[in-house]
């Protein structure tokens, strides 16, 4: 691969946690600040960039690759809000083929097409499907692709579990030149204990939380309009939350190698929080930091 253009950031997280919404809003905020941004959706669902481009159709890289032997950048990309170049890797029909290999093939194609050299982005954001389900989905964090990874999580245990798995993958690849972890983005913060729970998990894993995104009706509303919050409700508080995240990613280059919890540690940690939440909900009064 020739000299890398711009900062390459991979954003991971459990399916349905709000990864694509968060990523798209960060892309929009970066674009709004005047940066050239590419967002690559690495998910067979291929809906990562929908709210950046008003819900219009965009042929995926893999679908195009299947139909035609020669693929041009204009066949597989669309320009969305603020000039963000939107690309969807796509994948096979559920139940057949290998989506992991698909991600691999799509990323390789983008490199072959010299997308980054030609478009000269300041930022490339890879929005990657949930868990690191196999080697293919770890491609963006391997040597030479993304510099930093961020993980989006809510306070649901399964989201934390997926985040912990991602930490394991980073822990494996980072020493040999793969991406390091930029931090955790806490999403859908609503319950009283959410912030403290994610904060505690991040501290246990030795990683920073770079922002807390509250659950907000503005997000749902904007999505229904097929837009990011930045575009639909630029004056809202929520838009400012995303701008703050974007500024962090822009201005801060810190990264760490996380210390994932092993099976028994994670189980113990979860039990501890199970007890605390029960006590909060049932009104047991005792000293509890951060809650």
């Amino acid at each position: 691969m020739s000299e890398k253009q711009g900062k390459h950031i991979a954003i991971y997280g459990k399916g349905g946690i709000g990864k694509s919404t968060t990523t798209s809003n960060i892309s929009a905020a970066l674009a709004e600040a005047g940066y050239r941004v590419i967002q690559v959706g690495c998910d067979p669902k291929s809906d990562s960039t929908t709210i950046l481009r008003g819900g219009n159709d965009l042929p995926t890289v893999l679908d195009t690759l299947r139909e035609q032997s020669k693929v041009r950048l204009e066949d597989i990309s669309a320009v969305g809000f603020g000039g963000v170049l939107c690309i969807e890797a796509g994948g096979p029909v559920p139940g057949v083929g290998c989506a992991g290999r698909g991600i691999n093939a799509a990323v390789e194609l983008l490199q072959d097409l010299k997308v980054f050299e030609e478009y000269k982005p300041d930022f490339v954001l890879y929005d990657v499907l949930g868990d690191v389900v196999c080697g293919g989905f770890a491609v963006p964090i391997r040597d030479g692709i993304a510099d930093r990874a961020f993980v989006v999580t809510s306070s649901d245990f399964m989201a934390v579990f997926a985040a912990n798995n991602l930490f394991k993958a980073i822990n494996k690849y980072a020493p040999s030149g793969g991406a390091r972890l930029g931090g955790v983005i806490a999403n859908s913060i609503q319950a009283s204990y959410s912030k403290a729970l994610i904060h505690d998990f991040a501290e246990e894993s030795g990683v920073p939380v770079i922002g807390y995104v509250p659950r907000s009706i503005t997000v749902a509303q904007s999505e229904l309009y097929g837009k990011t919050v930045i575009e639909a409700l630029p004056e809202s508080e929520q838009a400012e939350v995303y701008r703050k995240l974007a500024r962090y990613i822009d201005e801060n280059n810190d990264s760490v190698i996380p210390k994932p919890l092993n099976g028994p540690e994670l189980k113990k940690w979860a039990r501890k929080w199970g007890d605390r939440i029960f006590e909060v909900e049932t009104g047991v009064v005792q000293k509890m930091e951060a809650i």
């Binding site: 893999l62 690759l65 057949v96 290998c98 290999r101």
Partner: protein
């Protein structure tokens, strides 16, 4: 600790399956894998063996999948390949075997097989990715697939043969003398009134495989024949007899007597037959006696090969011919359980004489063991030629791969095999008479 294997003689499961299928007359293999799997088999096995079977070699039918099929699934490519194969090659049976990539992706091969069957093509399949094991596991997988799938393929059952006996465990080409060995075992079983079902080789096709459930006994002559024999016992209650080693010389007589006992055959007929064979063998051996002593046949030997060969040939060379085992190397990676049985058999070859038994498939390690063992005669594959050269001793290539001898129907099994073995061994010793 991990280590690398230098020059393994054990190819992958897909190749083991192909070796079995190609040796079934009228069976057409259809490989569902990326390009190169079939060719690798040709380069590694067919070209080193006696030649190419009718539907093997470079023109073998293969779906040759590419990245597109890995990402989106390759089942439709297989469907197309099967359709084309049926048009181009007239076979009695089409056998789909899969490689690593298509198995990783999870292509639905049973569904494609069913589609073929729905169109009245005789199709079976086996999942044989290389990562499932070596050539031996491939043989087991393909044999089990045939046992499981053939009965439902056709409603017209072939006429039931009486006293049918199947022979398992001889893997075509992995035993370079497979055809000759099977023919001889068949001749011996016929001699005691049985109908042998050799399953592979000239004149043996899918019809013979359809008769497999009718057999009264399954004879297993290597550890690799146990899996199909056990399956048949489970399905049809057919008993099986395991002999672990290739029966050479008197071991063949013991096998015939054991079969006679087990099936309650006419014992006097068996005795008459075995005696006649033994008499012939004695005559051959006594005719060789003079040369045996003059040329110094009685040597300490190194023997490298598959477990059935090491046990079978080893027993004959020591017990019947009076040679002494120096280094015995088993190359086919038998299970731990089988290893202890094999070790026991080999340790008891000569009383008060400890033969060193090793299990290895590493060319460098095997060569070192042969050289450091200091044998005065080496029997092994072509890969051991150099070690024999280093030792400056006679060398007879007997196991896979053979590089410089052609084998068509020569075999070392049974009584007739003894003559062939003595001819080859004697010639090798006479060609290098002085140590």
């Amino acid at each position: 600790m991990s280590y690398h294997i230098d020059g393994s003689r054990n190819s992958c499961a897909l190749h083991g399956a192909l070796q079995l299928i190609e040796a079934i007359e009228g069976a057409v293999p259809v490989i569902h894998s990326n390009a190169g799997c079939g060719l690798q088999h040709y380069l590694g096995v067919n070209r080193l063996g006696p030649g190419t079977d009718p539907y093997g070699g470079p023109p073998v039918s293969s779906s040759n999948i590419t990245e597109k099929h890995v990402v989106f699934g390759g089942s439709s490519r297989l469907r197309e390949q099967l359709k084309n194969t049926v048009k181009v090659v007239e076979g009695e049976l089409y056998f789909i075997v899969s490689g690593c990539s298509t198995e990783m992706v999870g292509d639905d091969i049973p569904a494609m097989t069913k589609e073929g069957l729905d169109q009245s093509f005789p199709v079976v399949y086996a999942n044989t990715p290389g990562f499932r094991g070596a050539v031996h596991q491939g043989y087991e997988l393909a044999a089990k697939a045939l046992i499981e799938q053939l009965p439902s393929l056709s409603k017209d059952k072939p006429e039931q043969a009486e006293n049918l006996v199947n022979i398992w465990g001889i893997i075509p080409h992995q035993d370079p003398f497979w055809a000759g060995n099977l023919e001889e075992l068949g001749r011996l079983l016929e001699g005691i009134g049985l109908r042998p079902n050799l399953l592979v080789g000239y004149g043996h096709g899918p019809e013979d495989w359809r008769c497999v459930p009718d057999a009264v006994l399954n004879i297993v002559v290597s550890v690799w024949g146990e899996a199909p024999a056990r399956l048949l016992e489970e399905r049809y209650g057919t008993p099986f007899l395991v002999v672990e080693g290739l029966p050479v010389g008197p071991a063949a007589g013991r096998l015939l007597r054991a079969v006679t006992d087990l099936l309650g055959l006419d014992a006097s007929r068996t005795e008459r037959f075995v005696e006649a064979e033994e008499k012939r063998l004695d005559r051959q051996l006594s005719g060789l006696a003079d040369t045996f002593y003059r040329a110094g046949f009685q040597r300490e030997f190194a023997l490298v090969g598959e477990s059935s060969q090491v046990v079978g040939l080893g027993e004959f060379l020591t017990r019947s011919l009076g040679l002494l085992p120096r280094t015995l190397i088993v190359t086919d990676n038998p299970t731990d359980e089988a290893r202890s049985v094999i070790k026991e058999r080999l340790a008891a070859l000569v009383e008060d004489w400890d033969a060193e038994v090793f299990f290895s498939e590493d060319h460098a390690e095997i060569s070192d063991l042969v050289v450091s063992g200091g044998a005065t005669l080496v029997l092994g594959s072509a890969l051991e030629g150099k070690a024999a050269e280093t030792l400056g001793v006679p060398f007879l290539p007997v196991s896979f791969p053979l590089a410089d001898r052609v084998v068509i129907d020569r075999g070392y099994a049974g009584y007739r095999g003894v003559a062939a073995l003595l001819e080859d061994l004697g010639s090798a010793i006479l060609a290098r008479p002085h140590q």
